[in-house]
């Protein structure tokens, strides 16, 4: 399965990549803003996306809406510091399959990815 990692923090992109390496997902790219993420999404059609919300150019929720228009079967895990219930509900409403609040540990991310992959891993 193809993976796209989207976060405006390079440290978080590196951490996510490192934490999920055991899943043998094929990393097709990483993006630091929503516009770059959409371009990679259109080109590489990832099956799994980890997506931050607060980002320059295009925020994660707007990016999620566009991704769902292109491929509603893509499994998107929102990873965000925005911890209020309204934000997580909004993400799920627009098609995200999961929501992991920051800060997170390696174990928490692995559990979320496992849940996201379900019986496809």
């Amino acid at each position: 399965m193809k993976l796209l990692i989207v976060d405006d923090s390079n440290i978080m992109r590196r951490a996510i990549e490192k934490y999920v390496k055991d899943f043998k997902l094929d990393l097709i790219g990483t993006a630091g803003d929503g516009e770059q993420a959409l371009a990679l999404f259109k080109t590489h059609s990832p099956d799994v996306v980890t997506l931050d919300i607060t980002m320059p150019k295009l925020d994660g929720i707007s990016c999620l809406k566009e991704m769902m228009k292109i491929n509603p079967r893509c499994r998107v895990l929102i990873i965000s510091a925005l911890k209020d219930p309204a934000t997580s509900l909004s993400a799920l409403k627009y098609g995200a399959k999961g929501f992991l609040p920051k800060p997170f540990t390696e174990l928490q991310l692995k559990e979320e990815i496992l849940e996201l992959l379900g019986d496809t891993k």
């Binding site: 923090s9 440290i11 951490a15 980002m55 911890k83 920051k102 800060p103």
Partner: protein, 148 residues
Amino acid sequence: MKEEEIKGFIHTVTSYFNQITEIPAIMGLPYIKDNKTVTYDFTGVIGISGNRKGAVYFTASKQLLLDFGHFILGDDQLDDDALYDLIGEMVNTITGNMRELFGSTFTISVPIIMKGTIEDIVIQLKPPVFIIPIKWKEHTCHLGIGLE
């Protein structure tokens, strides 16, 4: 700002350090910033709009960021660019988590990062600005909050 809001920030910071490092951060007594601004090697500022207006900043030494970054990335190398990034992520996480208390109309900007001594952080901060000193391991850092 209300006392419960200050306590909310303190709780968020202590939880953050504890969750990532399992080493507790000790909070000092909050005080109101005077004309002098104390900053460490790296400072991240987040602008706030929506139901509250102002800004929040987090300032820390290079060594604190190197130590903290080690808990996230293990032995991977962290250059100055990575530390710029890390201070931004830290202030973003602390401030974003505060939406749990302030609600979804507490809107945060992407972080602005500064390096070195800064004469005064006045842009966007709404007085009175509360400073929360934080001690983690042998390092000192602090959070500044200036919200209407």
